[in-house]
């Protein structure tokens, strides 16, 4: 979209669940929905962070003419005349399955259980590998550490089902300034338990520029 077609002050008019809404330039579908207090569930989205798009809970169905596409609302800007549906059959199918997967992936998380129950998902058909697990690999902690705090004390290791949250080289990380931002953005509280694996033993920390 070029700036000439879409000057800064022009709004984008579209509908969410039939309700006419207007987005300011730069807003995503999710931001517009929130502005109008239309509920769309999210897990990996955080207003302070660049959207990462990992949880896919925020999907909506966007119809334009005859074409309908399911897409994450946190990443996609609306276009003029788009019809957005926040709980169509296809949307709910994705959302329910994601929640059912999460019940098996993060069985220890109360937040996830609550969220799942709100969509009628109370049990899971999938195998539970670790009953203690709470982390859903949403990436918020990695992003806040990198984008907001400006250090890279946290990262993802391995890939696919084996993907884990770790520190670079899997050793406690001197880059960590112990600010706790990661803990505060974590949607399930999983990081609370792991903070010590990130920052190491604080009492043994010395050196220039080190803050508690």
């Amino acid at each position: 979209m070029s700036s000439s077609e879409n000057p800064q002050n022009q709004v984008i008019s579209f509908t969410i669940d039939g309700q006419p809404v207007q987005a300011r330039p730069g807003w995503t579908i999710l931001e517009t929905a929130r502005h109008y207090r239309i509920h769309i569930p999210t897990l990996c989205f955080h207003p302070a962070l660049k959207p990462w798009g990992s949880c896919r809970l925020c999907v909506v169905e966007a119809r334009y003419g005859k074409r309908g596409k399911v897409m994450p609302s946190c990443l996609n800007p609306p276009i003029e005349e788009l019809e957005v549906f926040t709980d169509s059959e296809r949307v709910l199918n994705v959302r329910r399955w994601v929640l059912e997967m999460l019940l098996a992936g993060c069985p220890a998380s109360r937040e996830i259980k609550k969220l799942a129950a709100a969509y009628g998902v109370t049990s899971t058909r999938f195998a539970v590998t670790d009953p203690e697990e709470e982390c859903l690999r949403c990436g918020r902690c990695v992003a806040v550490c990198n984008e907001v705090v400006g250090v890279q004390a946290l990262t993802f290791g391995s890939r696919g089902v084996k993907k884990v949250l770790e520190t670079p080289y899997r050793v406690p990380n001197n880059a960590c300034i112990g600010c706790g931002c990661c803990v505060s953005v974590c949607p399930t509280g999983a990081l609370q338990k792991r903070l010590d694996t990130v920052r190491g033993d604080l009492s043994r920390r010395t050196g220039h520029g080190y803050a508690h």
Partner: protein
């Protein structure tokens, strides 16, 4: 090498090279493609080199031995082709070389036993072999013919002629329009119109001036596929020339060849080709004196399947983790280093010189109306002739599998084909007219009783499968669809980057369902659950990997639900593949007591005296099938 300073010099060079050639000089072309190398082609090639160099051959003209790329007929490798007669020798061993030299090169006679024969017919000329006769080779025409390490050989075959034509006769916009009218669609799987992609990229660059980049996608992560490998190894100049033409059209000065690390020969051949092209002034500054600068660099992918996805390639080239990012913005808007970028598959690039050479209309008339041109497939599985084939789009699946592939070998019955690699679908043989809107039949193939599905982008998509990169696995009645779907899912679960939830946990979940089915567990309702889960992945995943991963499962449920039900309800695997559902038994009528199976069984659970009936202890049997493979009289049966 003398640098060429204008297009006329290229023509002079070509003419001189062609004139210096002796048309009667025998040429021995030894295939060193992936298939033949695996069965010892390098020894054959060495044997030829030393046989010809060491002795004083009593010949008028010294023969020339060339190592070439894949000849296509991989199941008959190592292959050797002798020009000018176009003799095709199959399954050549180093020991045969002496005889070929003495009989064919010295005396001019044919070594009958090395000819390809089928149904009692011996084929002298490669052109007569049905496998080759039905093909239409455009991209493959130089592969297996030229020496990929010698740019002169490529130039004699016409390389860089189209680049010269574009530079002097056409404006950049003419080139883009030509590609657009030709109807060329991306060969990397998606079938996106190439000319349109180029046009959009140029428009984006005009709005936002700065560099534009092009990338050739040579990642080819699909298990069993080797189309792109064959092109890069066998005719690297085709890719370079295609990219140079694209670069001219889009005002690009730097291009990248992204090739997987597991393709060392392709990388070596491309590197040599780039160096030679640079030396001749076909790459670098002021190409052919036309005032156009373009250079290429090779980057190796570390071998993750998902690194074939375009946004992951960009991340990888920029030095980030090779994980996809969400689109839009598309690479044509913000690609490499935030600049408009065109990513095309290796085979797509290799099509470009032919379009420029022969014109848009010529290309548009090839193949099917909305899928123009030809497509290369790697034909594998339960077909007699496996290998690399190039056919016009729109050919019927039956012609491809039964005529070119030679049908199912042995007693098997043709059941299905799996196209498009792990993201493709499983289409049944019985699928006939229903989805077809266009057929192509090679002249002497009767369409009536063949599998009618037209092989083109749109017809394939309608079946729920995809054309994909060109992998084609033929299945017979001894292949189980549940098992094949499980195989691909396991591959993709390994290859998922794990960034988004539906793919990371969903593939694992789908696999749990399939593992249960293959053990006869589950309820019929689970098939519906699996289908709905698959659809959630299609809609919910971030990149094409997760969005297409359920295809083998979804198509096999659509066409072979009975086979799923047989596993779950009857605890029976009709194809006799799923180990937990089969038993091996020795037929007392047939067993002659040879003891071979008892000697082979790793569990030592087959008993029976010499010349007496043997029996299998079912409790100890692990169903490895070794007895069945070794029994000389086929007395071992599977229930």
């Amino acid at each position: 090498m003398q640098r060429l300073t204008n297009t006329a010099e290229l023509k002079v060079l070509r003419d001189n090279l062609l004139q210096a050639q002796d048309p009667h000089r025998p040429i021995v072309r030894v295939c060193r493609g992936p298939g033949c190398l695996a069965v010892g082609a390098d020894k054959v090639s060495q044997a030829f080199q030393s046989a010809i160099q060491s002795q004083n051959l009593e010949v008028k003209v010294q023969p020339l031995v060339k190592d070439t790329g894949c000849h296509g007929f991989c199941s008959q490798g190592p292959l050797v082709n002798l020009a000018p007669a176009n003799l095709c020798y199959v399954r050549v061993k180093p020991e045969d070389v002496e005889e070929i030299v003495q009989t064919t090169l010295v005396k001019g006679a044919v070594v009958e036993r090395l000819l390809y024969s089928d149904n009692g017919t011996r084929y002298k000329s490669a052109a007569d072999i049905p496998f080759y006769r039905m093909q239409q080779k455009i991209i493959l025409q130089n592969i297996g013919v030229i020496d990929p390490l010698d740019i002169h050989d490529a130039i004699m075959a016409g390389a860089y002629h189209s680049l010269a034509k574009a530079l002097i006769e056409m404006s950049p916009d003419d080139v883009i329009r030509t590609v657009e009218i030709s109807g060329l669609r991306g060969r990397g799987g998606g079938g996106f119109p190439t000319g349109y992609k180029w046009k959009r990229t140029v428009e984006n660059a005009r709005e936002n001036p700065g560099p534009v980049y092009i990338i050739a996608n040579g990642e080819e992560g699909d298990p069993g596929a080797f189309m792109d490998r064959a092109i890069m190894e066998g005719d690297p100049h085709a890719v370079i020339e295609g990219m140079a033409i694209g670069a001219y059209a889009m005002g690009v000065n730097q291009g990248f060849l992204y090739v997987r690390h597991e393709y060392p020969i392709a990388i070596r051949h491309l590197a040599a080709a780039i160096a030679q092209a640079r030396a001749l002034g076909l790459l670098g500054k002021n190409i052919l004196g036309a005032g156009f600068d373009f250079d290429l660099q090779i980057n190796r992918g570390a071998g993750a399947y998902v690194c074939g996805e375009e946004t992951a390639i960009i991340a990888s080239l920029e030095g980030r983790v090779g994980e996809p990012v969400t689109r839009p913005p598309y690479p044509s808007q913000q690609g490499l280093w935030g600049r408009p970028t065109v990513i095309n598959n290796v085979e797509t690039w290799a099509n470009v010189p032919h379009i420029i050479d022969h014109g848009a209309q010529w290309y548009a008339d090839l193949g099917a109306p909305r899928s123009t041109g030809t497509k290369i497939f790697s034909l594998v599985g339960k077909v007699k002739n496996t290998g690399l084939v190039e056919v016009p789009m729109g050919i019927s699946l039956g012609a491809l599998v039964e005529e070119i592939g030679g049908g199912v070998p042995g007693q098997g019955r043709f059941k299905a084909v799996q196209t498009g690699g792990p993201s493709g679908g499983i289409i049944p043989y019985e699928l006939k007219e229903e989805f077809t809107d266009y057929h192509f039949h090679p002249p002497d193939v009767k369409p009536a009783d063949k599998m009618e599905l037209s092989v083109d982008f749109d017809s394939m998509a309608q079946t729920g499968s995809i054309m994909g990169g060109g992998g084609m696995i033929v299945m017979d009645d001894h292949d189980c669809v549940v098992d094949l779907a499980r195989y691909f899912l396991r591959f993709l679960e390994e290859e998922s980057c794990g960034k988004c939830l539906p793919c990371r946990l969903g593939l694992k979940g789908m696999l749990e369902f399939l593992n249960n089915f293959s053990q006869g567990k589950g309820a019929p309702a689970d098939i519906d659950a699996l289908e709905s889960l698959g659809k959630a992945l299609v809609d919910g995943s971030l990149c094409g990997l997760g969005r297409t991963a359920p295809n083998p499962v979804l198509t096999s449920i659509r066409y072979f639900r009975d086979e799923y039900l047989a596993h779950i309800v009857d605890h029976h695997c009709p194809a006799g593949v799923c180990r937990d559902l089969i038993t091996y038994r020795i037929d007392p009528e047939i067993c002659n007591g040879c003891t071979l199976c008892a000697q082979t069984c790793p569990q030592v659970c087959i008993t029976g005296a010499n010349q007496q009936l043997h029996t299998i202890d079912q409790d100890a049997c692990i169903r490895c099938g070794a007895c069945m493979d070794v029994c000389p009289v086929d007395a071992v049966v599977v229930d």
